[in-house]
C-alpha cells in the first residue's frame, strides 16, 4: 500500500530534520507559536523518538504577539518539556519600537529580522529549521529546502544549490549558516489536515470566538492590550472572528468566521476564496517585498 500524501509529506520532513541533526554542528528550530511551529515540533518528536529532539526551540519575541500566544507557548513548553530559548532584541526594546508608531517595516526589521540574526550569532547556531512553506508566497516557491546564508545572513537567490533526489548538500563554509524548511512542500490545507489527523494542539486564536476588534483600512485588528491607541471615536466592537495566520497582533488581521474546531476550519478552507497571507500587513508593502526581506535576512 503506497503512502498517502500526508504520510509522504511527513516522511520528507522527518528525513530533512534527521539530515540536519546528522550534519549540522549546532542546529536550532525556530518557534513562532503558530500552527506551522506546532506541526514542526510534532514532526521533530516523531523523527527522533524514542530520543528527544536533539535541538532547542528558539522564539524570537517581538513583544507584540497576542497574549494568548504567550500563554500557549509557556503552557506547551511546560507540558511537552520543550527546551525553549526566548530572544528579544534588547536594543529595540530600549528604542521602544512600536508597530503603531514606527510602522510594520521598521518594527519587523528591528524586532524580527535583526533580533533573529542576533540570536543566531549569540548562540552560534549554524542551522535553523523554520516552518515556511512554498505555497505561502512566490519567492518562497523557488527557495531551496536547504537555503544558505552568508556570515552576514544574506540570501542570494541566484546562487542556490540544486537539490536532487533526497540528497541534501549540508556542507558550508565557516560562519555561513543554513536555513532549512522541512515544510516546503506542504500547503495550508495539508497543515490543517495533519493537525486534524495527529490531534496537534494549536493556539486558540485560530478558532472563531467573540473578540474585541476595530476595523482599519479594510482589516479587522484585535484590541489585544492597552498599547493599542484608538482613534478619536473608535470603539472596539465584539465580532466573531478567528485568525488564519498569527504574527504581531497590530499587524495581523482577523477574519469573520464561525469555524470553532479543526474540522470546521478545514471545511471553511475548502470554501475559502482568499489566500492565507492576505491578513498580513507585511506582504502588502510592495511587489516582491518578501524577496527583499529575505535577502536582508528575514527568515
Amino acid at each position: 500500500m503506497a503512502l498517502t500524501h500526508l504520510q509522504q509529506l511527513e516522511a520528507e520532513s522527518i528525513h530533512i530534520m534527521r539530515e540536519v541533526v546528522a550534519e549540522a554542528e549546532k542546529p536550532v528550530m525556530l518557534y513562532s507559536i503558530g500552527k506551522d511551529s506546532s506541526v514542526m515540533h510534532h514532526l521533530a518528536v516523531k523523527a527522533f523518538h524514542p530520543a528527544r529532539p536533539p535541538f532547542p526551540l528558539l522564539h524570537v519575541d517581538t513583544t507584540w504577539k497576542f497574549r494568548e500566544m504567550y500563554e500557549f507557548r509557556d503552557r506547551m513548553a511546560k507540558q511537552l518539556g520543550i527546551d525553549l530559548i526566548v530572544h528579544v532584541n534588547a536594543e529595540g526594546l530600549k528604542m521602544s519600537i512600536d508597530p503603531f508608531v514606527h510602522g510594520s517595516t521598521i518594527h519587523t526589521d528591528i524586532m524580527k529580522t535583526q533580533a533573529l540574526k542576533q540570536a543566531l550569532d549569540l548562540y552560534g547556531f549554524d542551522a535553523a529549521l523554520g516552518g515556511a512553506r512554498r505555497d505561502e508566497e512566490t519567492s518562497r516557491a523557488k527557495e531551496r529546502i536547504f537555503s544558505f546564508r552568508s556570515a552576514q545572513h544574506h540570501w542570494d537567490p541566484t546562487n542556490q544549490r540544486p537539490e536532487l533526489w533526497r540528497l541534501y548538500n549540508c556542507r558550508k563554509q565557516q560562519r555561513e549558516s543554513i536555513r532549512v524548511f522541512p515544510l516546503s512542500n506542504w500547503t495550508e490545507l495539508d497543515v490543517w489536515q495533519y493537525i486534524h489527523r495527529e490531534s496537534i494542539p494549536v493556539v486558540p486564536l485560530y478558532f472563531a470566538k467573540e473578540r474585541p476588534v476595530v476595523e482599519r483600512s479594510g482589516g479587522l485588528i484585535m484590541v489585544d492590550d492597552n498599547r493599542m491607541p484608538l482613534a478619536h471615536g473608535e470603539v472596539p466592537g465584539m465580532r466573531k472572528v478567528r485568525f488564519r495566520t498569527l504574527g504581531c497582533y497590530p499587524l495581523t488581521g482577523a477574519i469573520e468566521s464561525t469555524a470553532d474546531s479543526v474540522i470546521a476550519i478545514i471545511q471553511e478552507m475548502l470554501l475559502a476564496r482568499t489566500s492565507e497571507r492576505q491578513g498580513r500587513v507585511i506582504d502588502h508593502d510592495a511587489t516582491a517585498s518578501m524577496e527583499k526581506k529575505k535577502q536582508e535576512g528575514y527568515f
Binding site: L3, L9, A11, P50, R52, T138, S139, L164, R171, Q267
Partner: protein
C-alpha cells in the same frame, strides 16, 4: 458543506495519494500557462491571487490583458523582468484523489541542470510541444533527460491546438513521430494528448473541439497514472542509515527511510559495506512498534545483535544485499561553471554517506540533442558524460535504474562546497573486486627507524620564477649536511620523464600533481624527507596531496613572490613568451594561481635571499620536530 460531507471528505483525504511530476518545454510552448491552468481548474487560485494576477497581466502580461497564467509562476523579480523562468519552481494542487507537486523547469539548453534537478524527484513528466512546430530538438533533449533520470511515465501534450484549428492530422503526425523516437530511447509509457492550455481544451474535460480524441484529459491522466510504488515494494529491502538514535545506553536504533522493499520484525539483514548480519528486533515508531514498513516510510529499527552500523551504512535484506565496491561506471551530469576535472578529488554524497571521489577521463560525452557519443577531456556546465569513478573506501550501492536512492549521487566541490554534479551509478568495475591492497611486514615506521629519521613531505608551491627550486635545492643541501635522507622532486625534471605525456591544460595540471603526489607518498612511506617543488596552482590538488600522507607529514611551503616580481625575474624567459602569446595556459598570465590559505610556512621572497629563506625553513622544521630523529 454539511457535517456528513466534511467527515466523508476527511475520510477520503486520509487515503489520498501524492504524485510528483515535471513539465518540460521550450520558452514559448506554454508550460507556465499549463500549470497556471491546472491550478485554476483545480480551484487552487484564491480571489486575492487572481486579483494580483489580473493586475500583473495588465501590467506585464503577454496575453493582451487576458489572464497570463505564466505570471503566477515567475516568482523572483529579476526573472520576471527578464521574462524567463530561470530556476526550478515547485507548485502544488490537489484534487479529490491526489495531491500534486509540480516542478516547473525551463527549457533552455543551458538549463539542463534544472531539468535534471526537477526530474530527479518526479514520477511522471509532461512534455509540451507547440502543435505548429511539432517535435523539436529540445523535445528530444527533454525526453532523453527524462528517460535518463528514470521517469517511466510521460505525457506528450501537443499544445496550442487552437492555433492549428484542432486538426487531427497535425496531431497524428506529431504523435507518430514522437512515438518512433521514444521507442528508440526506451521510453515506455507514453500518452499523447491534444490540448490548448490557454483555452483549457482537454485539460479537465474532453473538448468539443477535438471529438476525434478519445484518450484521457491531462488531469485525468495525472489522477490515474500509476506511481512506481509496486515495483519498489517488490525490490529487496534497503535503508541508508541516517542517524543513530541512542537516547540511553540500553537502546540503539538506526533511523532512515525505507528506499525499497518491505521490512518486518524478525527479517534477516546485512549491514553494508561491513557485511555483518543480524535480525530486525523492533521497528520503532512514535505511535508504537510497527509490524512492517514500506518504501518511503521513515523508521527507526533496532537489531537483535549488538553489531555496529554508522551513518552512511546501508541496511539491506541479507538474501539480496546491495553491491559493495570502490570503483564504478556512472553517468555524470555537470552542473557548475567550473568544469569537471578528471583526477580532482570531490566529495561524493550517496544515501547518507559522504566519501572522496575522483573521476577518470570521460569515456564519452553525450550530445543531448543528437544522442551522439563524443570524445571529451572534461565536462563543462550542462554536459553529460559516462566516466569511471573511484572512491576512497568501499560503499554500498544499487544501479540507479533499480533504485534512485541508492544509485544516485551528488558531487560537491571541496573548496566552494557547491553541488557541482549529479551521478547515476551503472555498475561496479571488476578491477575494483580484483585489486587488493597488499599488506607488507616492513612498514613505514620500521623503514624510518632504520634511517634514524621521520619521513615527511615538504611541498613548495608558488609562481614560476618565485624561487621554489632554488630554495628547495638549498634546503635539501642543508638537510643532507645534517645527515637526513632526502629526495627532491622538481616540476621541470619530472615533466621530462614520468609526466612527459602531459601538457598544461587544467586537466593535465591536475594529473601532473596527482602523479607527483602519489610518487611522493611512496617515498615518504620509504622513510624519506621528500621535497616537491611544483607550481601546483590549484588549492584542491594541494589538498589532495595533503590527504595522501598522514597528519603532520605534509608541510606546505608557500614561496611567495608577487606576480610583478616573478615576471621581472623571469629566469627562463617564460613570462615574456606567455605575454607574446607563444605560451598558453601559463600560470599567473592566462591560468590562475590559487595561493595557499593556511600554509605551514610562508617565505616572502621580496624580504629574504634564497639562503636566508632556506635557513628560515630549516629553523621552522626543527622547531616543529618535523625532520628530527625518530
Amino acid at each position: 458543506m454539511a457535517a456528513a460531507d466534511i467527515s466523508h471528505y476527511l475520510e477520503a483525504q486520509q487515503h489520498k495519494g501524492l504524485l510528483r511530476f515535471i513539465t518540460c518545454g521550450g520558452v514559448d510552448d506554454g508550460k507556465s500557462t499549463l500549470i497556471g491552468r491546472l491550478l485554476y481548474e483545480a480551484h487552487m487560485l484564491y480571489d486575492d491571487q487572481l486579483a494580483a494576477l489580473e493586475a500583473d497581466s495588465k501590467k506585464v502580461g503577454t496575453q493582451g490583458g487576458d489572464l497570463d497564467f505564466a505570471l503566477l509562476l515567475d516568482g523572483l523579480t529579476a526573472e520576471r523582468e527578464r521574462g524567463i523562468t530561470i530556476d526550478v519552481a515547485y507548485r502544488f494542487f490537489s484534487t479529490d484523489t491526489r495531491k500534486f507537486i509540480v516542478a516547473d523547469t525551463p527549457g533552455h539548453e543551458q538549463y539542463t541542470r534544472n531539468l535534471v534537478t526537477g526530474a530527479s524527484t518526479a514520477d511522471a513528466a509532461i512534455l509540451l510541444v507547440d502543435a505548429r512546430k511539432g517535435v523539436l530538438t529540445q523535445t528530444r533533449r527533454h525526453s532523453y533527460l527524462v528517460s535518463l533520470l528514470g521517469i517511466r511515465h510521460v505525457v506528450l501534450a501537443v499544445n496550442k491546438m487552437d492555433l492549428v484549428d484542432y486538426a487531427r492530422t497535425t496531431f497524428a503526425a506529431i504523435e507518430d513521430e514522437y512515438r518512433a523516437f521514444a521507442k528508440q530511447i526506451g521510453l515506455g509509457d507514453i500518452c499523447c494528448i491534444p490540448v490548448s492550455a490557454l483555452k483549457g481544451d482537454n485539460i479537465l474535460t474532453l473538448s468539443d473541439m477535438t471529438r476525434w480524441y478519445h484518450g484521457p484529459t491531462v488531469m485525468g491522466y495525472l489522477e490515474t497514472v500509476e506511481v512506481d510504488h509496486a515495483r519498489l515494494e517488490r525490490a529487496p529491502f534497503r535503508m541508508p542509515v541516517q542517524w543513530v538514535n541512542r537516547p540511553h545506553a540500553d537502546f540503539r536504533g538506526f533511523a532512515g527511510i525505507v528506499t525499497s522493499g518491505i521490512i518486518r520484525a524478525g527479517d534477516r539483514i546485512r549491514v553494508q559495506p561491513s557485511g555483518r548480519e543480524s535480525r530486525v528486533a523492533r521497528l520503532i515508531a512514535y505511535e508504537g512498534d510497527l509490524t512492517h514498513a514500506v518504501p518511503g516510510q521513515p523508521i527507526t529499527l533496532s537489531l537483535a545483535d549488538e553489531i555496529d552500523a554508522r551513518r552512511g551504512d546501508i541496511i539491506s535484506s541479507a538474501d539480496a544485499p546491495a553491491g559493495v565496491a570502490d570503483q564504478f561506471e556512472a553517468t555524470i551530469v555537470w552542473m557548475n561553471e567550473q568544469p569537471m576535472l578528471p583526477g580532482r578529488p570531490y566529495w561524493l554524497k550517496i544515501g547518507a554517506d559522504t566519501v572522496t571521489a575522483t573521476i577518470a577521463h570521460p569515456k564519452y560525452r553525450v550530445n543531448v540533442n543528437t544522442l551522439e557519443h563524443l570524445a571529451a577531456k572534461r565536462l563543462e556546465l550542462n554536459e553529460i558524460g559516462v566516466c569511471n569513478v573511484s572512491v576512497d573506501r568501499p560503499i554500498a550501492f544499487d544501479p540507479y535504474r533499480e533504485n534512485r536512492d541508492t544509485g544516485g549521487f551528488i558531487l560537491i566541490d571541496r573548496l566552494s562546497n557547491n553541488t557541482v554534479g549529479a551521478g547515476l551509478l551503472h555498475f561496479a568495475l571488476r578491477r575494483s573486486d580484483n585489486i587488493h591492497w597488499q599488506a607488507v611486514d616492513v612498514d613505514k615506521r620500521a623503514r624510518a627507524i632504520q634511517k634514524g629519521q621521520k619521513g615527511c613531505l615538504l611541498w613548495f608551491t608558488g609562481l614560476s620564477g618565485a624561487g621554489k627550486s632554488t630554495i628547495a635545492n638549498l634546503v635539501e643541501k642543508k638537510l643532507y649536511a645534517r645527515g637526513r635522507h632526502t629526495y627532491l622532486l622538481d616540476g621541470d625534471n619530472v615533466r621530462h620523464g614520468l609526466n612527459r605525456d602531459l601538457g598544461f591544460t587544467d586537466e593535465d595540471r591536475v594529473e601532473n600533481i596527482r602523479r607527483v603526489a602519489e610518487v611522493a607518498k611512496l617515498m615518504v612511506d620509504a622513510g624519506l624527507v621528500v621535497l616537491v617543488s611544483f607550481i601546483s596552482p590549484f588549492r584542491s590538488e594541494r589538498r589532495m596531496a595533503r590527504g595522501l600522507v598522514e597528519d603532520g607529514e605534509f608541510i606546505e611551503v608557500f614561496v611567495d613572490a608577487p606576480l610583478a616580481v616573478a615576471e621581472e625575474r623571469d629566469p627562463k624567459g617564460l613570462y615574456r613568451k606567455a605575454r607574446r602569446g607563444e605560451l598558453k595556459n601559463f600560470t599567473g598570465i592566462d591560468s590562475p594561481y590559487e595561493p595557499p590559505e593556511h600554509a605551514e610556512i610562508r617565505v616572502d621572497t621580496t624580504a629574504h635571499t634564497p639562503e636566508s629563506a632556506a635557513e628560515h625553513i630549516i629553523a621552522i622544521l626543527e622547531e616543529r620536530g618535523a625532520v628530527g630523529s625518530v
